[in-house]
């Protein structure tokens, strides 16, 4: 269920405030649309889109406001999660947010001129960065807000009224995955202040979508959250299918559910393997990573690729399960269960593990919601929001499983929620495979799904269908749509604007890691440096999805 509201720019802040009080306490996404070359004339050339979810999690609303001038009131006073989202809109579209506490670029670099998602900006026009941002002014503001006054001399801090050491954590750091930079002010081992910088893996996904057909975008979605590629494929094609108004076959739905859960296991396995290594428990890496290797084997047999599967297509998927898939899957699940069992036997009652994770990197339920955390990170704080239960799709309501929640939102909870979810996912996979519907995997509409190869080579209709679909793409009706599903890291959404052609006019990803990362700096302030590493690992930030 969803409601679209158009609101004048000057009333937007008041309306969002009212909606917040009515229970829309969860901000999903903010984005903008540049209508300058849109085939249907709109009220104004630019519009802002706000997507909010109700506290019951059962439905969302989409607020749209047309902008006469590229300025609007910030909503960071209502939602802390809006901070980075508004910065991104400013960065990509040049829309100014009045009273924003820190309106600066977030994805593109500081020497970048112009705003790349404007239709006037050429897709391939790159711009060199010569020197990395020193983050001094951002850090200075942060220090001042904590009553630390420092002198600034030739680009570095000196003579602070507190004895501080400044340190760059990343971007080239084993725990930061090469793409996350956190600049910290240390008082001994304790982090006094922290600011994060992202965008090191911003590879222009959203702009690249604007010159590819819908099915050509599927491989790009693989590389958003590359630890669980198939779930991104599904989230994207699900949005397109809803815009087309089609329902995929029951068999396709069941296969998608099974693969969503297998991806969840795959992703959690790599997250848990990595965080235990960060903690010094190298043995667990082999126990958790080896089953992932077995999942790769299975997926490459099914899809042809280990990591970036590109298995989904609008209207179905590339091919059906192979003969004997069921048996292979059962073997893989046994190995996953063995890996989980062995790892848990090493850490479950391990004093070192408990001391390092419990009451570390905590985030309260209220803050987690306000920062728009989602998925396991939100559930670890005790909020039982899971789209598979709250807004079921693909028949999730038919399957028996539990939503795993934590209590205090510390590193321990986030790790244990993921272990719990692996178990629940296995339950779902077994139910799906035990009762897999027979039938076609693709819908029967050759304006959407490619015909069989025999038909292409032997009939004129087949050849024409193939030609039109490959060259022009799936024609999606004019309009705008937001849709999402419960991916591994939480609610993964796509906001697509279609101009009626085979290429999207605009694609925006609502990325779970992006908002999680925006909360990170505040989460680690006051904790120890070593705990900051574990906090980052436990949030499972995937740079491809965060920076896009």
């Amino acid at each position: 269920m969803c409601e679209n509201i158009i609101v004048p720019a000057e009333e937007l802040h008041t309306l969002i405030d009212t909606k917040y009080k009515e229970g829309f306490t969860y901000l999903l996404d903010i984005t903008a649309v540049d209508y300058t070359v849109y085939p249907v004339v709109q009220e104004e050339l630019f519009a802002l889109i706000y997507v909010l979810r109700h506290e019951s999690f059962l439905y969302h609303i989409v607020l749209k406001t047309y902008l006469k001038e590229l300025k609007i009131e910030t909503i960071t006073d209502i939602f802390k999660g809006a901070n980075w989202l508004e910065r991104e809109v400013y960065d990509q579209y040049g829309i100014h947010f009045k009273n924003h506490p820190n309106l600066r670029r977030v994805l593109n670099h500081k020497e970048f001129v112009g705003h790349p998602l404007l239709k006037a900006y050429p897709i391939t026009k790159g711009q060199l960065l010569h020197e990395v941002d020193d983050l001094i002014d951002e850090m200075n503001n942060r220090l001042l807000s904590r009553n630390v006054v420092c002198k600034l001399e030739s680009g570095s801090f000196s003579e602070c009224n507190k004895d501080l050491m400044f340190l760059n954590l990343g971007p080239s750091h084993p725990a930061s995955h090469g793409t996350i930079r956190t600049y910290v002010a240390l008082d001994g081992e304790t982090i006094e202040c922290a600011v994060s910088e992202i965008g090191y893996l911003h590879r222009g996904f959203e702009k690249s979508c604007e010159n590819h057909t819908y099915n050509q975008i599927v491989p790009y979605t693989d590389r958003l959250n590359y630890c669980s590629a198939i779930s991104n494929n599904i989230a994207f094609v699900k949005t397109v299918e809803e815009m087309l108004g089609i329902t995929i076959s029951e068999r396709a739905q069941a296969i998608r559910v099974m693969l969503l859960e297998l991806s969840r296991i795959e992703d959690h396995a790599v997250c848990l393997a990595a965080i235990l290594v960060d903690m010094g428990g190298l043995t667990n890496y082999w126990y958790m990573y080896n089953p992932r290797e077995d999942i790769y084997e299975l997926l490459s047999k099914l899809t042809g690729a280990r990591l970036t599967n590109s298995y989904m297509r609008v209207g179905g998927m590339t091919n059906d399960l192979y003969d004997g898939f069921d048996g292979d899957l059962k073997e893989v699940i046994k190995k996953i269960q063995y890996g989980v069992e062995q790892t848990l036997s090493l850490i479950k009652h391990n004093r070192i593990f408990h001391d390092r994770t419990q009451n570390v990197g905590m985030i309260t339920a209220e803050n987690a919601l306000n920062y728009s955390l989602t998925g396991p990170n939100l559930r670890a704080s005790g909020i039982a929001y899971d789209m598979r239960k709250d807004t079921p799709y693909y028949g999730y309501e038919k399957y028996q499983f539990d939503v795993v929640v934590g209590s205090v939102g510390d590193v321990y909870d986030r790790i244990m929620v993921r272990f719990g979810e692996i178990e629940e996912s296995i339950k779902i996979i077994e139910q799906v495979m035990g009762n897999l519907p027979q039938g076609e995997i693709n819908i029967k509409d050759f304006s959407i799904v490619l015909p069989k190869k025999e038909a292409v080579y032997t009939t004129i209709e087949g050849a024409m269908n193939q030609f039109k679909l490959i060259f022009e793409g799936v024609k999606v009706p004019l309009g705008e749509h937001y849709s999402s599903l419960e991916a591994t890291n939480g609610e993964l959404g796509f906001y697509i604007v279609s101009d009626g052609s085979g290429t999207p006019y605009k694609v925006k990803v609502k990325a779970p890691s992006f908002t999680a990362m925006s909360a990170y700096a505040q989460m680690i302030e006051g904790s120890q440096l070593a705990d900051a590493i574990l906090t980052l690992g436990s949030l499972n930030i995937i740079a491809g999805e965060m920076d896009r």
């Binding site: 994805l107 593109n108 670099h109 790349p116 900006y121 050429p122 897709i123 391939t124 026009k125 790159g126 711009q127 060199l128 960065l129 010569h130 020197e131 990395v132 971007p171 080239s172 750091h173 084993p174 995955h177 090469g178 793409t179 965008g199 090191y200 893996l201 911003h202 590879r203 222009g204 702009k207 690249s208 491989p219 790009y220 590389r223 590359y226 630890c227 790599v270 393997a273 890496y285 082999w286 990573y289 080896n290 290797e293 790769y296 280990r306 990591l307 970036t308 740079a543 491809g544």
Partner: protein, 172 residues
């Protein structure tokens, strides 16, 4: 047994040339620094894990400090924002050093032909081995390692091989 000098040497010494001995030592103790940014870094995790196990080729001592490494594996997309950092890391490594460009993005920008992605790391730093694939299979990276080792054994190490290299970020 007679303890003359010849017998002793026959048992315990081999005659070789110095550069061959050094080449042999180098090829079997490459210390990689993984500059992993994206999907390829996940495939590197597979290369390091027990199934593919890079330690079979003497290159498992992964260092995250460029000062301690001699093999830079660039695994993943390098954006314009990342480029100065990559250059700095490369410069911090001391000679002798080698660079492996892992995956389509690092080699050429891959299918990210747009405003934010560097169209190949060889615009910034010199590359010794290119590995194609998106991402490459673990075997492909192992193959790159073996070809580098082979090169070290046969052609020896040539410190001047990149001396004319000028990247986009170098002051010309």
């Amino acid at each position: 047994m007679e303890l003359d000098t010849t017998t002793l040497l026959n048992d315990s010494a081999i005659a070789t040339r110095l550069e061959e001995a050094i080449g042999w030592a180098r090829e079997s103790s490459l210390w990689p620094m993984v500059f992993g940014t994206a999907c390829c870094a996940i495939e590197f995790m597979s290369v390091a894990a027990s199934k593919y196990d890079i330690s079979r080729f003497g290159a498992e001592v992964v260092r995250f400090s460029p000062r301690q490494a001699d093999l830079l594996i660039v695994a993943g997309t390098i954006t314009y924002k990342q480029a100065p950092i990559l250059k700095q890391i490369y410069e911090q490594m001391s000679e002798p050093k080698w660079v492996v460009s892992m995956g389509a993005c690092a080699c050429s920008g891959g299918f990210y032909d747009n405003y934010s992605t560097m169209q190949g790391i060889d615009n910034i730093i010199p590359v010794d081995v290119y590995v194609g694939g998106c991402p490459p299979r673990p075997e492909a990276l192992i193959d790159a390692l073996l070809s580098l080792q082979n090169d070290l054994r046969i052609n020896k190490y040539n410190p001047d091989r990149h001396k004319d290299f000028r990247g986009l970020l170098d002051n010309v």
